[in-house]
Symmetry: D2
Subunit: 436 residues, 4 copies
């Protein structure tokens, strides 16, 4: 976790305090149910909740000090709670194993993280939608291979991003569902010493599903899927970030990240306005993507469990969620305040001498009876001249002067193929597909 | 793709012939709709389908020869088809761009691959279920950290695998849905030269959904999700493979891969029977996992598209699906024929002098009023003696001889804690959770 | 391995025939030494080499048929050789284990692959050097963040690539050294049944170093290092590929991949000339990078060896080397024939109204006694006007009209800061650093 | 970075204070040389060093506050230093660009990290060597595929680890050399505004090599190689960690991590002694491996530079080095205090009824004139009986009772093949290869 790439709400989930609070709730809810079942005195849960009602501070250093001796974090925590609550606390954790607490806690943390990320996605989607509608019909050149292809609108670019993040949202909802399970099944998952109803009770109280079968641990394929999903979302962030970086290039300059007063682009070159936010996002996407690999390697734990996943999760639990939260918020800001230059878009589109209309002429020729091969040859020979003139020649002029072309199409017919609006007749249809 | 790790049905999907057949179908369906719309003569589609009805062979080398000149695969194919079908063929591909064909084809290939993988998963699930029921109550030691913990049943181990692959199936169904989209939207996705109804028609004919918004290409976040899902499945394969490898270890030997007559385990050591199938699966899992990374990097294409994803997909399209198909089938075979040794399981379980019952004694002591700390200390001091005796001492004997223990528990009470069936009382409940 | 991304010399290394030939040589050399040591009759090696001298064809299907029964590749091969050579062949493989043959063979294959890759790098370096010298003083704008920064020369861009691939060559030489070891140490590496002098003999004959300590297998950290090195080289290929893709963008168009007559850039848009080779290389780089991960996971084999590395290496051995060979050759071709447009470079450089000289003015102001903060402010306020004018205004004019600036610098002094050659005075020095 | 997986010396390198101190030194050394060259007054460097000699505290929050306004870290730092030093400070950074400082600083940090890691490796090598010599002739079974193969010694296992980490050390020395370069070459690396002698001066003072050609940034292939090398080292750590985990398994128990008094293996099962340190190392290895991927993706920066690498390096710079430092130290501790049980090793070796000697009998039979095929068959049929008896039968007895065997070998000859020392005759030779 890099502090400058973290936001407080998400970071708080991963603080020791937050973790211990979830631990307590799991233990207290479990004790409650055990009390109902008559396994422990009903007074035990009451004592725990009474203490909790005092809104006690969690003394992390004190717990750490105990752990330094026991070398076992859950035992250290239970010992500390017992010191606070007194004798009744000895009924806590009856029939449970550490992982019951740890894995269910991780489920709560990841589910809460996912909730924040889903909110982030909603904000991002809203920002994209707003700008998409604003620029629904702003013409700009579509580029394949970095080369001018045919016209699109800037709104379409944003609609594509909207559709992509909307898919990301669905994926994250599915990943959240997968990860939000509760396991209170004892040392090897047999419920030998604890009734399954305890698990059901804790699950319900914490808003989780029960884990159908656990083996001390919740199976790590769930987590692999979760972190892989974050990696896919990071890929989509990178896509938009790279788009902005391209658009801000000096020669393109169709859009720019907002540049605040007082900001300096370069210590040496005062003229620079750099797309540093989206470059920054590009790097963060690499990291979040990278975190999927150890999560995938974590799946193949030995037998009923080994603990090799744990050190991995101490990194990627906070790092992947905190960084993705930051990245989504940063991207939302970029989109929200993006400086968009329609005039420059038009200017760029015009610079290729009308080459972007070549396909329509090709189609018109074939519809006028020219064979596809011939039509392609006719258009290409004129297009190449324009290309080589670096936009000084105009395709329209050359076509009108090409006798093989004019043998098939009149000047009016040729001119009609150079109409920009022709390309946008389905924009509204596409918008209705994307935004409903 | 490694031939020895491939099976014919899956490989066939990725052969040039199969690809060209899908290309043709897309082009012919599109021409059909274009005919209905009056964009091209209705006779064009008829000519195509008539030729197709002759069940023509696809002359791959001839197409390759054309591509060597045009350096463009779709144009090469269209040219070849035109040579076969004649003049009417010139109406093909009207208003379309190569990617309309290529990306929709990839969608068909991946969807078909997913169908095979889903069948594979069904076979695997059936094999696991059969063996799980067979060994529902076969006692075996549960291990955490590779160390004996408490008893489980072999059926539970398999039930866990069942639940995991059942989740994998759900994920793959979702991934298949994501990938099965059709885009016929023209050069930059604006439908400038082709009506959206053509896309809808082709989609319906091929059993695909329409891609709500494409940009010449179908967005690669879909593919990233698909290949990431395969990676997660590979992780689950690895988990079971590693389990079998552990069980077959000389000192454990609770299960073995089937060893066929005539098989030689080692050229030098005739006594060897090695878990080579599951080791092999472990390596394959690494590969399939590795293929997720380039798929994730493919998301951030430039602007409306660049073609950097294409070379990646020429590798991972076939390699990931073919290898996963092979791996699932191999794992199914391993499970199906797995040699399972209940006697050895019992023997291993017995070798620790009853240590596996330590928790129950701990709980009994606390329930008898001993503080948790004291109870832990009492059990641990006896357990450590057993541990250090390498199983020569029995925990039950030591406990009965420990005055602090017997002060709290009678001999009968202690003995009752060493009952194996106690651990299996919820097996049926867990099975009902997993198998319904 | 994708056939279209492979070249014959590299592919041949990975053909079954090539592998069997190496197997034979290892076995025959070993038998030779065993003969010298008196362990087997000297006639055995003679019989093997006599047969070999007849230049026999390797009957791969026959060997495959035997393997189908024995399920062991080395035994199948030995059986087949014995069928050819006769009785004397039974002395082959004495005291050896399969891995002695397999791992040493892989070492030979990887070393030979590395030799081809080193040649590839030499060709690439030569092409880069030739073009670098050609364009040593061709001015072009240097860009940071995609934004114009200050002038460089196109030769410098290429010199940077040269230095990078020169480092790659050094790394590959080191990786080749690491991988080129011979292990003939028996079933668990103890030389229990074979004298270490056999290993030394085979190593010498095959041009390998002895593996100081093997454990049936050659340790896989060597291979992890090898494939990681290929991944780094792939990264450098990607860097240059991305550079070309940027330069070919419509708005930039400072360089282009060679476009051959008859080539079609797009089936729909006849005007397109796309950087498809470098996009293709970008994807291949992702693959080669991806292959490093399973190689790294292969290191942690169990105990003296497990065979999980083997299926991985069946993929990445050929795939990573063949693809990298292809990519290096393709990049060499791209560089060799790259169309370079100095006029366009100049035109692009001029379009920012002289902003690229802002730093020199800043320095001049501070040297004239203006505080750094003030100087930055003065230059930035004029630079921002130029920036916002989209190059319509000239920085030089604005500075001359800024009284705070002219209070510190004369017009002549300001003009002197707009000299292009000023930036190139160290080009020769840098070239001497890079090219010696 | 996870605090519990970090050690102070390595962490300190990555603290803001440490970074600012290096920044200052670079700026001051550069100013010094610029003074010599007459570019700035010689008094400037003196003022800087005089202030430095007062051992001033670095006021990180103050610098942060300035950065919050300027949004540029180097400018913020320079501003703060100017506030401390006064007017002479304005000559700092003359002709330099931020990256000159940032990239050279990263080089210093990575070089210092490498120095610590090299020390770590020395400690690890020393620990391994000590234990290897201690157990040079401790017999233990060699295992391939997890199955008993033939005897080795525990010293050989450790010697293998020694050789592997010795290679790691060589790789890290090479990686350190690669990374330790200094670039002070200005905005796009042309030295337009700064003489190359400044770079040479700073390089010398900081113990770095000059970067032959930089482009504002030091090329990232160097860093990719560095982090890939760390990933390979992590793989070797994982290998040893997995070995220990296997050896500690209940059924094997040939070695154990040291278990300190007061330690609790499980909150639920007092008898547990788990290999948690090596499991922990396994997970850390996954993380360090994972960090190589974004480092590899960082290579392909755009043109002369983009800043996408920066966010990646804020993570992996500290995280990979701090975690590897911790992991090496932890592994050293594990090896140093490893509980090793030779008696158990012998016991395990004996449990297979002498199967581990099967190869020697095979060889003896062939040397006695039996065909290899027949010999294999004879040994295998007896071996399989032993295998299936679970060690109850002894191979020696069965062979003596097999008439086909005794037709070729006398009882004495057979018995001679069951001698353990036979396997260890080359141990000293191997040790001399490894330890010199």
């Amino acid at each position: 976790m890099v502090p400058r790439y973290s936001r407080p709400a998400m970071s708080a989930i991963w603080e020791p305090e937050a973790r211990y609070r979830i631990w307590f709730e799991i233990e207290a809810h479990a004790t409650e149910k055990l009390g109902e079942l008559g396994v422990v005195p009903a007074s035990a849960a009451k004592a725990l909740w009474d203490w909790w009602a005092t809104n006690p501070e969690i003394d992390v250093p004190a717990i750490d000090a105990i752990e330094a001796v026991t070398k076992h974090d859950v035992i250290a925590f239970l010992t500390w709670v017992a010191e606070q609550v007194g004798d009744e606390a000895r009924f806590m954790h009856q029939g449970m194993t550490s992982s019951d607490v740890l894995d269910t806690t991780l489920a709560v943390q990841l589910a809460r993280s996912a909730d924040i990320l889903l909110e982030d996605l909603d904000h991002l989607l809203a920002a994209i939608k707003r700008r998409a509608e604003e620029h629904k019909y702003t013409p700009t050149i579509g580029r394949s291979h970095g080369i001018h292809a045919e016209p699109v609108t800037f709104g379409l670019k944003l609609a594509q991003a909207y559709a992509e993040f909307d898919r990301c949202k669905k994926r994250l909802i599915a990943a959240r569902e997968e990860i939000a399970t509760c396991a209170i099944s004892g040392a090897v998952g047999t419920f030998a010493n604890i009734d399954p109803s305890v698990e059901a009770h804790v699950a319900e109280k914490l808003g989780l599903e029960i884990e159908p079968i656990s083996t001390q641990v919740i199976p790590r394929d769930r987590h692999a899927m979760f972190f892989s999903t974050l990696a896919v979302i990071a890929g989509s962030i990178e896509r938009v970030a790279v788009e902005v970086r391209h658009l801000q290039r000096t020669e393109v300059l169709e859009a720019e990240e907002y540049f605040s007063p007082g900001q300096k682009g370069s210590s040496a070159m005062p003229h620079k306005r750099n797309p540093i936010l989206t470059e920054n996002l590009t790097g963060q996407a690499r990291m979040i993507r990278g975190y999927a690999m150890p999560a995938l390697e974590n799946v193949a734990l030995w037998h009923e469990r080994d603990i090799s996943h744990s050190s991995v999760e101490r990194f990627i639990g906070p790092d992947a969620t905190i960084t993705l939260d930051f990245a989504l918020a940063r991207l939302t800001g970029v989109i929200d305040k993006l400086l968009i230059y329609p005039e420059r878009m038009q200017k760029n589109m015009d610079r290729m001498g009308g080459l972007i209309h070549s396909q329509r002429v090709l189609l018109a020729l074939t519809q006028a009876g020219v064979s596809r091969e011939d039509a392609y040859r006719l258009v290409q020979r004129n297009a190449m001249k324009v290309w080589e003139s670096d936009g000084a020649l105009a395709l329209l002029d050359l076509l009108k002067a090409d006798e093989e072309v004019t043998a098939a199409l009149s000047n009016e017919e040729i001119e009609a193929k150079f109409d920009l609006d022709y390309h946008f007749k389905q924009v509204d249809h596409i918008f209705s597909r994307v935004f409903g």
